[in-house]
Symmetry: C3
Subunit: 468 residues, 3 copies
């Protein structure tokens, strides 16, 4: 349950005549103490096992401190809140036989040891039932009750009854246990809290590189060039105008990069005539972070929208419009109205708005709670059909934007084309290849390959119609 108050005020009193369950905690470090504090709060008896069985003011009130072997006798469930390097002494404690040992340890680095701490513990004390749990919860969160972050506790272990009992404790503490299967999962569970957005790295670095490149490209064309030739100081353009060029370009390129691996994969499958050969690793990794690429692109698109909408409030824009008005008022000449310009301007805006709208829709459906309630067919429909429609709209938006500028004389500056022209290259390539791939003749072959058919297999008769 996500609601804080629900848990934070757990009853401290025991009205019923139930006997209190006793839990033993080995180790009196910060995490051990915090866990003990929380368990006492939730109605458990807590016994600490320690080398030094002296009571400490740091330990929560109501807890007992005993020697390791004394403490182990008091409870079926022993929480091992000790660093892995000091697990050795546990081999000597015969009291642990048949007990449930809960490994709560974390490492300092991902894959620090050849095997996970929990599996190592299971090897050291083979007669105990080792369960991995609690390592994703911070000591501070346990103490303060400020469990805004995840309340999920990943639990794994080979003994199903031991796992069930640990999951019951997790629930009583107001947390959500998630059964992750056997102890083999411990390695992943131990790596989990050390990760810092692993899937977001590629999209982040990629977008940062694109931003920096296009920023300097635009500064060169639009700030340095006029300064060199016209001695105009328009550095202020670096605050809004140039970002508003860089952001949409980055967004469009990233969006195209979401769909590029899909067409590359299709070409590979067509070329190989089978879907059963693995893709190269770079393609696999690329395909797995498409969602993140798309969300970063959406972020840039959002910034582009805001930067565009503030245009009329900018001092520079108001000043320019005013000066145009004054000169025109002086010449007393009415402006002529160009229907073509009106059409271009309006369809440019309409395409952008619709593209952004679909992009936001895609973003919302990629929220975990939303993607969980759609089935595979619906998810594919949104991410593939609507996704390509978004790409088409955004590419058209950029093309129409160009449509107004192609005629102006000063396109090439120092032989450099406008930045948006560069932005169009990848999206256009993706759309052209996709257009070829969906032509019936090619699409049929691809569909058959994806259903398991093989071009060169002598065993293809094996793929009987009767099997799913």
């Amino acid at each position: 349950m996500e609601n804080k108050t629900f848990t934070d005020a757990l009853p401290l009193t025991m009205n019923s005549s139930e006997k209190q369950e006793t839990v033993c905690i080995f180790g009196t470090g910060d995490f051990g103490r915090s866990l003990g504090f929380k368990m006492l709060q939730c109605g458990y008896s807590v016994v600490f096992g320690s080398r030094n069985s002296q009571m400490s003011s740091l330990l929560p009130h109501g807890a007992e401190v005993l020697s390791y072997s004394e403490a182990a006798k008091k409870s079926d469930i022993i929480i091992i809140a000790i660093h892995r390097e000091h697990y050795n002494f546990l081999t000597e404690l015969i009291e642990l036989n048949g007990k449930i040992l809960v490994d709560v340890s974390n490492n300092l680095k991902i894959n620090q040891y050849p095997e996970s701490n929990a599996e190592y513990l299971a090897q050291l004390v083979p007669r105990a039932h080792v369960v991995k749990a609690f390592n994703t919860i911070s000591a501070w969160a346990l103490q303060s009750g400020a469990l805004d972050a995840s309340r999920q506790v990943f639990v794994c272990g080979n003994d199903s009854e031991a796992k069930q009992r640990v999951m019951d404790i997790v629930r009583t503490l107001g947390l959500t246990p998630l059964d992750q299967g056997s102890l083999m999962a411990a390695n992943e569970i131990e790596n989990y809290p050390l990760q810092l957005f692993p899937m977001w790295r590629l999209p982040f670095y990629l977008s940062a590189a694109l931003c920096v490149f296009f920023f300097f490209y635009c500064v060169l064309r639009e700030v340095i060039y006029p300064y060199v030739y016209e001695k105009k100081d328009i550095t202020f353009r670096m605050a809004v105008s140039i970002p508003n060029r860089v952001f949409p370009i980055t967004a469009l390129i990233l969006l195209a990069l979401v769909y590029l691996p899909g067409v590359i994969a299709a070409i590979l499958q067509l070329y190989r005539g089978t879907k059963y050969r693995r893709f190269p690793d770079w393609l696999d990794h690329w395909m797995l972070c498409r969602k993140q690429l798309g969300l970063v692109a959406l972020g840039f698109a959002f910034l582009h929208v805001l930067y565009t909408l503030v245009i009329p409030i900018r001092y520079y824009v108001r000043w320019r419009l005013r000066n145009i008005n004054i000169t025109q008022a002086a010449s007393q000449k009415e402006n002529s109205f160009s229907t073509t310009s009106a059409w271009l301007s309006d369809s440019y805006l309409a395409l952008g708005i619709l593209g952004f709208f679909l992009f936001v829709l895609l973003g919302i459906t990629s929220l975990p709670s939303v993607s969980n309630i759609v089935n595979w067919r619906e998810f594919r429909f949104v991410q593939s059909k609507l996704g390509y429609l978004t790409l088409i709209l955004c590419t058209a938006h950029t093309l129409v934007y160009g449509g107004k500028r192609f005629l102006s004389p000063s396109i090439l500056r120092w032989f450099l084309p406008s930045a948006y022209v560069l932005a169009l290259i990848i999206p256009c390539i993706v759309l052209v290849i996709k257009f070829i791939l969906i032509m019936p003749c090619i699409d049929n072959i691809l569909t058959r390959i994806r259903q398991g058919w093989e071009r060169n297999s002598k065993y293809s008769t094996l793929n009987k119609k009767s099997d799913v």
Copy 2:
């Protein structure tokens, strides 16, 4: 767990001395092979059962292929990856007695057969424990690990232990099992992956019809009429101006349609004097897709906001403002300031902004993860109180918009009123009826009816105060 890397890199090695569990898969089709591949990756032994026990290059490395009866002997758990039409031969295999059969099949159409495939299988092999699972996962997702879509595997079955064992396998594969109860649920589970947004159809078609109608209505009044009488080509209005009329109108009507079934239901209950008679089917269906109607309305409102905010950037608007300036500058006359116009314009904008803000709030609370953490009382408060406030604000926004235009002469064109006038009909009806319904005298009766009281029941004494 949603995090991909967590599962995708599941340990392939078995450090511990555990014996590998063996799973048998009947059928070597695409889905069977993909499932086998994933199971091998996750540390299971896999035996394929096949008519033709010859090893194939298509089958994942490390798997064994045997005849059906040989394969069935190797494992307690047999995954039936065969099309339903070929289930018949299973009746002859006595090896299946007492085994857990996992039905993974899907149909091509919703409700294709009178009973679900899993129930049919349970009838064919009455001595086995049939569990339905895995049918919502695609073969491609299993192979590639690209489980961006739902990781949820719906599981149902009559034998609780068999179900538990299948759920353990699901967990080990990095997926999330969802217990759906007994085998009766199999029908729904089999229909699930075939659905394509069933609750969104009515809102979608309704909004499409409204959009098309109002688009042509506005084109008639605002493009064709001026063309006929003034020979002006203002077709460019179809890109931004007219959509920005159609979208808010559609949004407002859809929002009113979210609250209309509620007031109809209340009137029906008042008229019948009981809440225990079923509503007509159309009303039931309408009430069930209110959330979707509201979200579609929010989409149109979002588009309206964007279309409105780009107004000052449009070429046409800039051109018109410039020309007004020039003519006024020529006449050298200062504009007079109308406080009424300022009030109307500003309150029009403020009402729209506040209405949109509440609308977005409503949308956010309808996200599954948010609506899960609010209780029934909170949900009702948001969806009912805030919902009506949103409707009031949006209706007022439209009324004030009209306030500025009612005075202008050219309202009726070809006897057609402005489109926004039509948009106001349903919202005003809903608000008036709701206003009547919340008057204390009527509200009291309605509240009693909804608590189970019956006007005409001779048994109404039965509704004793003691019962909940």
Copy 3:
């Protein structure tokens, strides 16, 4: 499963030869009848226990009505749909021994009785297994199937098998059981449906107070002052201009108040030299509603963005721009361009946009489904690092906004400074203290304290390196 159609169309037929499970419901009130109706729909046999065993037209078709003791004999599972005040007669029914009693009752007030209804029931019928469930579901939702709100049913009980059987029923009804542990949790589960946004109260009242104060402050300075001295009627400013001053100020102050308790806590910990003494209650409560404070602040920031973006569409703004144009056109003088003004205006806008963008990111990561898939390290990174960056950007945005105005003469009106100056006080204090706290010398001490070190502890040797 969240998908409505899935459950609403549960099969009413029983193809398989299974015997129907019978459930007994004590009490024929509204909730009992609705639950019975739903259970019949889902394939259960339902027997009502009632004082008056006469069949009623109100009871769902297919259900049986018997006396309490007769009904209790028919089933292992008895749902007690009776108000707590009438529980007494249950003590006399010896048929209840060994049965599973499901307490579905709710109270009228939070903590109405010393112990929860379920615990009270367990005391009355000590030989039965009491399970708390279904109290969070409304009768109306059960009948209509309109389970848009939470489908979660909190279940708790001391007997694990009894709990499991009730959870199976919950699943069969298409709801999601959430195991909350032992019967001790019943109190919280009973309070849950009575809550109305408990964590949102402080943020709500605080923001309302800030809004009202700053609204009148601004009205005084910007409407009454000019009226008194210049007799100008600019009351229309109350619709857009003044809210657009009040909202960003409230947003900025609330955002600073999100980070203020953190720095106060750090100062307290530094001063006390330990993290093991509890914070004062007001600080605890403040820290627990930081997320809600931040989300309210985001709401105001969103309103500020919309109010700002509509500026160019406002009648008043257009009128003023036009008049400036006319007077300038009359004077035939070109405007001079100030690069400083352009820089200030553009960086003001850019800072605001970037700040708002990060703010939206923070809001998205606080969605339950998103915060569930990030680990503790990632959550801290976003909420702390990105959070402070947002605060810095928004404070800088306000400072630069001032930068343009500091030079204008009429700052003080009736000795009152501009409202935005007041808004800057708390954010600047927070940022200055935070800047001091992250200086290495202080940060090191704080980090050690938060890892469990104590300045004045004679037992600090106890905090051995070996313990987690």
